[in-house]
Amino acid sequence: MLKDKLNAVLKIDRRWIFLALAVVLFGAIMHPLGLISNKISRDTQSAYDFMNKLPAGSFVILSLDYDPATSPELNPQAMAVARHAFSKDLRVGVVTYAAGATALIEKVFSVVPGEFKKEYGRDYVIFPYQPNAVAALTQMASDIYGIYDKDKDGKDARSLPVMKEIKNYKNVSLVVCIAGTSMPDAWVAYAGDKYGVPVIAGVTAISQPGYGPYLQKKQLKGLLGGMKGAAEYEYLIKTPGEGTSGMDALSLAHVMVAALIIVSNIAIVILKYL
């Protein structure tokens, strides 16, 4: 009898698991527990430290290559990094190689610059979407204007005050690539390794483990992983945002997965020795 029940547990229709997860997530979103991640991972800390020590006026490329699908994880990262950059008076150039990112970028930059009284054209610029990332990254090594001669509104990029004395990678102090794609690999290969531009990445939690080798070799100066990375960065810049509020749902979902795995293994052990 028990054996049958345990077998049923092991072969449970996955739709019950889906339902349980939906209930857990819905509950956490409706009734937040207020869990805050204050243990900062080494890679988020290094990313923060690197950007924090850049002198005011340094030019940072923000490569935002995520689409609406990955935006719940990556948008909070982009917001936090943009806030940090503006609070340090850094100049920001935004590029993207994901067609779906353009509207999300506009959304981020319709909010963040205003908080720091930053002005378009003087403190930051948004470049249009480019379909061929490798071509753009290669071109920027010699002349940024070879690929980005105009900003998103068609204005001459050279004439913008934010681009003053910016010619190629030599004038770029940092690249922060927040991507749901493999764009951080491209930035490391074509800008970091080849021209020594420091690169920091922000990726989804699912792809985070894949970036270990780059961190170990210092090809990436730091890494934000998923919503947790965003929450940690928000904690560091002392501006709680979407990342921090998403940690409750994330916490409960993780614990649920752990519980399910333990339950299935207990069932296996009982079945084996029954």
Partner: protein, 417 residues
């Protein structure tokens, strides 16, 4: 008039003398900085032009806080632009990231790369620029005489010699392997995932259900996508032979165009050109999740007998493979995106890992030349394995014996420049 001028000059000189003596009384004279010697400007080798290498003798007596400023001008006189500023202990010879075979370190010399196109835009070969250095330490400073130099584009990256040697070695082994291809048989480890292709196609034929071949979301420049088209060719040929049905939904239109040719050719080779239809290859969407949603929908509706996921995949891998698994299809996956391998392992019957995917075309076609080329791959791996072991031992020994320089030389050999 002359008398008035004389009186004015006398008064002026008295006033200035008084001022000077007052200043002399107030300030304590700083020790003068040593003059800058040995300044020279040369073209920076191994670059595309537009960069000058300035070198001059270091000053070990410079007090702490002394900085060097590098000025550059395109004019004979004046027009100086500050190009660099750094502390007196920085930018010594050897700090340039170049290997020992391409660069001779000169102790006690500063070496600075000046990127002229940062200040002057496009720089032509042979265009002459002028340089001077000033050394500033507190209130005192010293300035060098101006030197001139021009730059030119270079034709060879000597610093990448290690890379070219490795490439040459692999190429030689590759040609040796290919030219000896037909002499004797070559043992190739069995790859279960590829052996199962026949079974999967046979099953589809028996059941009268289609086969889905998903080439992933990579573009045609990616090796995994190229490898995927090789496999598609072999799979299509078998499909044509068995008179089964295949569907190839595409993310990238360039890949679709190439795949169309590959499938057409495969049907032709199998002697079934009449079975080829234009809509075997179908463009879906260049948006990752729209593509996944659409392919998932097609798989759910048509319940194929077999699904192949070969190429580059990202987050959509599990979405595709899980839906395929629920339809009960035989699933064979292959990708070099190692982050997605765990998802394929759990949802597919067989998974090809990275290089197995690259080798699959050769394995399936059984072409002796292609199979022999795999030897070059094994040789490359052997070189890496030996290098890793020897490198680890050498660096450990060097660190124990305090042979830092030797360890550096070894590290130079294996570094990419």
């Amino acid at each position: 008039m002359t008398k008035n001028k004389l009186i004015f000059f006398i008064i002026l000189s008295l006033l200035t003398a008084g001022g000077a003596s007052a200043a002399a009384k107030k300030s304590i004279p700083s020790p003068a900085l040593a003059a800058i010697s040995g300044l020279s400007a040369a073209d920076m080798p191994y670059d595309s032009g537009g960069t000058t290498l300035l070198s001059w003798d270091a000053d070990p007596t410079a007090p702490a806080g002394t900085v060097y400023r590098v000025f550059v001008s395109s004019l004979e006189t004046g027009g100086w632009i500050k190009a660099e500023e750094f502390g007196s202990g920085e930018k010594m010879s050897g700090s340039l990231d170049l290997p020992f075979w391409a660069w001779k370190t000169r102790p006690g010399v500063h070496e600075v790369k000046v990127e002229l196109n940062n200040s002057f835009g496009e720089v032509n070969d042979g265009q002459v620029f002028h340089f001077k250095i000033s050394k500033v330490g507190g209130a005192v400073s010293a300035e060098s005489a101006a030197v001139s130099g021009s730059t030119r584009g270079n034709w060879f990256r000597l610093d990448r010699l290690n890379n070219i040697v490795m490439l040459a070695l692999v190429t030689i082994v590759f040609f040796w392997a290919v030219s000896h291809a037909k002499r004797k048989g070559l043992f190739i480890r069995r790859i279960a995932g590829l052996d199962a292709i026949d079974e999967a196609i046979g099953r589809a034929t028996e059941m009268g259900k289609p086969i889905y071949y998903v080439p992933g979301i990579g573009d045609m420049t990616m090796v995994s996508t190229i490898a995927s088209t090789f496999i598609l060719g072999e799979v299509s040929k078998k499909v044509a032979q068995y008179d089964s049905t295949i569907k190839v939904p595409h993310y990238n239109p360039v890949v679709m165009t190439v795949s169309k040719e590959v499938v057409k050719q495969a049907f032709l080779e199998a002697g079934r050109p009449d079975s080829f239809r234009e809509d075997i290859n179908q463009f879906i969407s260049q948006d990752q999740f729209s593509y996944a949603a659409s392919v998932d929908g097609m798989i759910s509706r048509e319940k194929p007998a077999a699904c192949f996921f070969m190429g580059y995949f990202a987050a959509e891998s599990l979405l595709l493979a899980e839906v395929g698994a629920t339809t009960g299809a035989i699933q064979i996956a292959g990708t070099d995106a190692e982050g997605q391998l765990p998802f394929f392992f759990t949802s597919c019957d067989y998974t090809l890992i990275g290089e197995e995917l690259y080798a699959a075309g050769a394995y399936l076609s059984k072409d002796p030349m292609l199979l022999s080329a795999l030897k070059a791959q094994d040789f490359g791996k052997l070189v890496v394995m030996v290098s890793v072991v020897l490198g680890a031992i050498t660096v450990s020994v060097c660190s124990l014996m305090h042979w830092g320089v030797f360890a550096q030389l070894i590290a130079n050999l294996f570094k990419s420049y």
